[in-house]
Symmetry: C2
């Protein structure tokens, strides 16, 4: 919850030992300290205009509309901009009871590959909250590019590599000019970054110095 | 991993006790049984054309391009369609070492609200794999609608409700016609589903029977 910016945790009849133990979770202390305990789901969701239950795919007998996480999260987001909404999770072992579910406007399920698998409660919460605050634009935004080396730096690298190869006997004098072109193209294809160019030039300088020795 | 359809788990120098204990996880037995152990990251990723490390936002000193999960997952997906790719996770406690990171083409981070928070390894894996197989179309696809009651059924409900209210003395004879219109509009606004219409008609029939008694 803290990782995705959610602050209002309500717990209904928590199993006291586990709940107090959880208070030590790294970075989440403020959230757990302000968590409110209720003795019924009805009280916990009383100020919410939308109550969404979470369920695994298996529960087909449920008499509620079931929405996939991606779509359901959009609906919840649009409610959250104007009113409180509750996302209801059941216990690790049994999930939400039929009584819990009867307080929900609709249900949300995490799309999974299989139907017989179980999902850890912490993982289910993380996935739902991640999707709730997920920024669709982030999927297409170009990330910061690594600054490329200049053509001059790349050329200098190619030159030093060539010099080292000539001194090592790699370059056959009769095919020298085509070899040089091949090596220059290879160096260009490496797309060397500005920072790496400096390092590579230093390596080649050292090798040349040794070859000259 | 099993929940999101991933089958190839490679573990590098696992802490034996914890790894064997994990074999009992519900529904994940086949995946853990076929997990392969390696003694180095280099061996584990040898057949992959793309190796992506995972990191928390904090690690700003890293000399790798860092991509947000939403964008990075797209890049990994496009590699996976033609070649093997590895997603590298560090230990719960220390994350990936600098040596581990030196095997990665780039790094991926899960976008979170704070920078000082820790995330559970299982949650981090679940979020990355969820995003990897996430279907962007699912966010906009309309879910299956609940079949609405027919106008005839809705009208029957309104009629029975009106009859019950008349018998109960709720309807003032002098304003009866405007009251009837109000009630009919209210019943329409309820958007009653086909299945619920039958239940409501049964309830009203029973109340009318009692009122007549």
């Amino acid at each position: 919850m803290a990782n995705f910016g959610f602050a209002r945790l309500a717990v209904v009849n928590p199993y006291d030992v586990a709940f107090r133990e959880a208070r030590s979770a790294v970075g989440a202390a403020p959230l757990l300290q302000t968590a409110v305990e209720f003795s019924s789901v009805a009280e916990a969701v009383a100020d919410c205009r939308l109550v969404v239950g979470t369920t695994s795919v298996g529960h087909r007998e449920l008499q509620h509309p079931i929405r996939r996480l991606e779509y359901g999260a959009r609906l919840i987001r649009s409610t959250l901009s104007k009113a409180n909404a509750a996302l209801l999770f059941g216990s690790e072992k049994f999930g939400l009871s039929n009584d819990d579910l009867s307080h929900c406007h609709w249900l949300m399920r995490i799309p999974t590959a299989g139907q017989d698998l179980s999902m850890n409660l912490g993982q289910a919460v993380a996935l739902c909250l991640y999707e709730l605050v997920r920024d669709p634009k982030a999927a297409t935004a170009r990330p910061e590019k690594i600054r490329a080396a200049t053509a001059g730096e790349t050329e200098q690298i190619a030159e030093r590599l060539l010099a080292a190869l000539r001194k090592s006997g790699y370059v056959n004098p009769t095919t020298a000019s085509s070899t040089e072109e091949k090596i220059r193209r290879l160096v260009l294809r490496l797309n060397i970054g500005a920072r790496d160019a400096t390092v590579l030039l230093g390596m080649l300088r050292q090798i040349l110095w040794k070859l000259d020795g």
